[in-house]
Amino acid sequence: MRKTELIKLFVNGEEHSLAVPVQRTLLEALRYDLGLIGSKQGCDKGDCGACTVLARPRQGSGRGEPILSCITLAADAQDLAVTTIEGLAGPQGLDVVQRAFVDCGALQCGFCQPGMMLSARALLDNCPKPSLPQIKEALSGNLCRCTGYSQIYQAVQVAAGMRKPSARAPVQAERAAPSDSVAHPVKEIVP
């Protein structure tokens, strides 16, 4: 049996030739061979959706469908054209989905976001004006442990041009003082 293998991956419009261990998953190839660490390694077994990328046959058009890169073998992904979160922004800057997530404060830790935004993008590519149940269904394979989802659903509606971000602006963070200039009063520790 071979230990390593030369494979060709087509990612974000570019072809890459890589020598990888035969058992490389697409996610590992993206993160550790191509340095595209936007796709997250969550459960690494198909449960959480953090590793979602978009894929279609190479001959096709469009961005394709959301798939899980942690359970796709890199060698088996050679006939696919893959779009990762790094490939979502265009020459004009952020994709409307990315902008809407920011405007709605639809993220906290951010770990689920690349997958969440790609699932949302795939939905809007197929269905430009989705209903709320359609949005929930399309994102039901992406788990988020922080937000409680409602801002995320709202962000998809904003991206679809169906509403404005809710009136309340995301919390304005105050600029933090550089840590070395913060006065830390020394507490006396009584023995």
């Binding site: 058992q23 390694q41 690494d44 077994k45 959706g49 359970i71 073998l73 060698a75 006939d79 394979g141």
Partner: protein, 323 residues
């Protein structure tokens, strides 16, 4: 991070080539959508060095067509595709729409679903986890943690298309280097959680055939799961009834996610002639509960599943009769 053991992906371009590879590489396994086999490989459940990937066979094996009194479904139809294109068999389309989550439905195939490995809380775990418990019969061990003293693995068939296709009287076409055979699906599954199908190591499931008469059956699929997405079934079932002038002519009920083999409920012939109403639903619920014993193989309280089973049957039968 869960790394895979070393496995080489082989990429045949035809069914003939695929089955030859399966024959020539001992221990080789089929890789379709990979949504079941890849996590299981990460758990160290298989000793295999070769995966025969079916992606190159998509053109050959991805179709939904009616021909010779059968609805024929190619093994590489994706689950998502069937949830949309199998609308002539509403229970199948509904089951497909409830499998896993959206990404997994795009990746997963019909063939892979029918050949899904059985599941158990004591086996779908990392090698480290399983080793801490001294392993079990299904892999690396000698005893069963579900049935104390049990000599046979009772890990649960967890595929959602299986009960539907069994209730609809489907058959499967299997190809090996020696030729092909067509088997009724009810002869496909075995009561052995270690390997619950009659599929041989060099055999490929290439097609599912559903008799066209199944289109006119009153049918429904029911599923119990903890979350409305992603989760495997804690119980699943399908019912198909032939109804004429308000009376039942025939009925098939299949319940799964219990043991290694999806259970076609036995002895329903005497229901023929009864009015197709709530009482028949009640009777089917009673018989299903009698014949099915939920175990601790699925990490959802077996007592609760036992209580819910007749409710799920009743609701599913009522839904079938309404449409």
């Amino acid at each position: 991070m869960m790394t895979l053991p070393a496995v080489e992906v082989l990429r045949p371009g035809s069914v003939a080539e695929a089955v030859e590879l399966l024959r020539d590489k001992p221990g080789a396994r089929v890789l379709a959508g990979g949504t079941d086999i890849v996590p299981n490989l990460k758990y160290g459940m298989y000793e295999t060095q070769h995966l025969v990937a079916l992606r190159g066979l998509s053109k050959e094996l991805r179709y939904v067509r009616e021909e010779d009194d059968f609805v024929k479904l190619g093994a590489l139809c994706s689950i998502d595709q069937l949830s949309r294109e199998a609308s002539m068999l509403p229970a199948l389309a509904d089951a497909c729409a409830q499998i896993a989550g959206p990404q997994l439905r795009r990746m997963g195939t019909l063939g892979g679903n029918l050949c899904l490995d059985t599941r158990c809380v004591y086996i779908n775990q990392t090698y480290f986890w399983r080793s801490a418990l001294g392993f079990c019969l299904k892999k690396d061990g000698t005893l069963c943690h579900v049935v104390k003293g049990g000599k046979r693995c009772v890990a649960a068939a967890s595929n959602d298309t299986a009960p539907v296709l069994l209730a609809l009287g489907a058959s499967v076409r299997l190809v090996s280097p020696r030729g092909e055979r067509i088997l009724p699906l009810r002869d496909f599954y075995l009561q052995d959680g270690v390997h619950n199908t009659v599929l041989q190591s060099d055999e490929l499931l290439v097609e599912v055939r559903v008799p066209v008469r199944a289109r006119s059956l009153k049918q429904a699929f029911g599923k119990l799961r903890m979350r409305a997405a992603i989760d495997f079934p804690a119980l699943n079932l399908a019912v198909a009834l032939e109804v004429a002038q308000g009376a039942v002519k025939s009925v098939a009920l299949c319940v799964s996610a219990i043991a290694a083999r999806p259970a076609l409920i036995r002895g329903l012939e005497d229901l023929a002639g009864r009015p197709a109403d709530a009482r028949v639903a009640e009777e089917l619920a009673r018989r299903a509960q009698k014949q099915c014993k939920p175990l601790t193989n699925i990490g959802v309280d077996p007592e609760w599943r036992r209580e819910v089973l007749p409710v799920l049957v009743r609701r599913t039968v009522s839904r079938a009769l309404q449409d």
